[in-house]
Subunit: 279 residues, 2 copies
């Protein structure tokens, strides 16, 4: 049997979500996208840490143990199927509830895991990306900034713009026109000897690979790195630009508006750390 995708709902293979569900009704939940490579889930501890932060912020009951258990179950299944690479999406919703916005007091989160087999070789850095600027901006919402909740319309609309434009990614700005991210990844800008990534105190998602660049990979190659409130001018003056995501690792940027970049050496060095670190 050659299976290419599969979904589990609360640990049971299923192609349907019981209704009602507050994840559908209000986006009342969180998710993570994990990469399975050579049968191993990469950085699952970082994904679960961010998920834990989100569960706390949304006042979900503690369900991390159940989530880990179901993730392990799926991983075992994929090993049995001899999948080497896959994209896993782990979704946690507040489950069933009465009508209305107020969450039930006694809530049982629902855990949905979907797996899509990948046949691309994720050990080769993706070709440099052409960026447009999305008209769709991040809303300003400090209370929910950083976590990966299910309210993702802004990124959907930005991704639609890049699709229509035939670009590889879309730069997303905040309400004050400052660069924040691309539609599906965190942005990094090299200015002289220092690598910068936008501060995420008003919007955006604090990516696991962003964290690894900040805490491990950039320090490992002796590169100064910091979170900065960047203006658009920083991008115009950048010596090198790339973005990070759990599925791609790091991807260099070749062009944005009238600028283009041929030098991707810092991104390449960090990608080598990423490969060394995760294999």
């Amino acid at each position: 049997m050659s299976r290419e995708s599969s979904i589990w709902v609360d640990g049971v293979p299923s192609l349907a979500l019981p209704l009602p569900d507050r994840g559908l009704d209000f986006g009342d939940g969180l998710f993570e996208t994990l990469l399975l490579r050579r049968g191993q889930l990469l950085y699952s501890e970082l994904h679960l840490q961010r998920l834990g932060t989100g569960l706390g912020l949304l006042a979900f009951p503690d369900c991390l143990a159940a989530i880990s258990e179901q993730l392990a179950l799926v991983q075992t299944q994929l090993q049995e199927w001899r999948w080497s690479c896959a994209a896993l999406r782990l979704t946690v919703t507040r489950g069933q509830g009465p009508r209305g916005y107020a969450p039930p007091l006694d809530t049982t989160p629902r855990i949905i895991i979907s797996a899509n087999r990948l046949h691309t070789d994720s050990e080769v850095m993706s070709a440099p990306a052409r960026l447009i600027t999305a008209h769709t901006r991040w809303g300003s919402q400090p209370q929910l900034a950083g976590i990966k909740h299910l309210n993702r319309l802004e990124q959907v609309l930005a991704a639609r713009e890049k699709q229509s434009a035939g670009a590889d990614e879309a730069l997303m700005l905040d309400q004050a026109q400052r660069p924040v991210s691309v539609s599906a990844g965190n942005l990094f800008i090299l200015l002289g000897d220092t690598l910068h990534t936008p501060l995420l105190n008003e919007c955006g998602i604090a990516g696991t690979r962003r964290r690894l660049v900040l805490e491990q990979w950039a320090p490992a190659i002796g590169l100064a790195v910091q979170e900065t409130q960047l203006e658009l001018a920083a991008l115009e003056n950048a010596d090198e630009v790339f973005f990070t995501s759990s599925l791609l690792g790091l991807r260099p940027v070749s062009s944005w508006e009238k600028r283009s970049w041929n030098d991707h050496s810092v991104c390449r060095q960090l990608y080598a750390r990423y490969l060394a670190h995760s294999l």
Copy 2:
């Protein structure tokens, strides 16, 4: 058979949503809450107008005809069951799609309608509500302001606050601390001879009953009404306060922080218009 709730997915009775679905994945969709009273769906044309605006903003294919058809089908079914009053939730998602934020180019929206039978007499104005101020604020996102999309975490968190505090509703402010709404309704503030409701150019949902107060009910009782960018001081100085929602119509506010209101005469007059208008 005494049935109290029912769900239809794409016109077929069902208790499950086929997966994957972009409504669950990203909140990529819209919804409406409609009131069935005496077997009639109130103001369905206004709900469908707002839904149409949202479908356009999110670049969904035109599916209003299919939605109207399914709504009529459900209404007929509820009449057969002899339901007099019910709360209907109509959800439209972008349906199935490939992995990732970018919506599929060829998309078939999914239409989910759930109906909950109501036994309360919706022809009597609700008791005046006690309000707290939610710590959770509306994010600032002009591009999505007004429409009723599925990204509703802010209201979920605000509703949770009112629930924890044992209050009836929670006042929600914007990022600049200006009053916008309650968690599940639009806010109206009487100052002297003029009724004000917050401008919704940065956040909030443009309610159908809000529109009726602005365009029909307030004019019908000779009351000046306008959309205003209100400061919190306006609420402190208010002569009367109430909010609107599709299920309650209008509901007076009895207290907020240190203020209390005993006079609900404008709300009562408007409620009489609402009843006269919708029966």
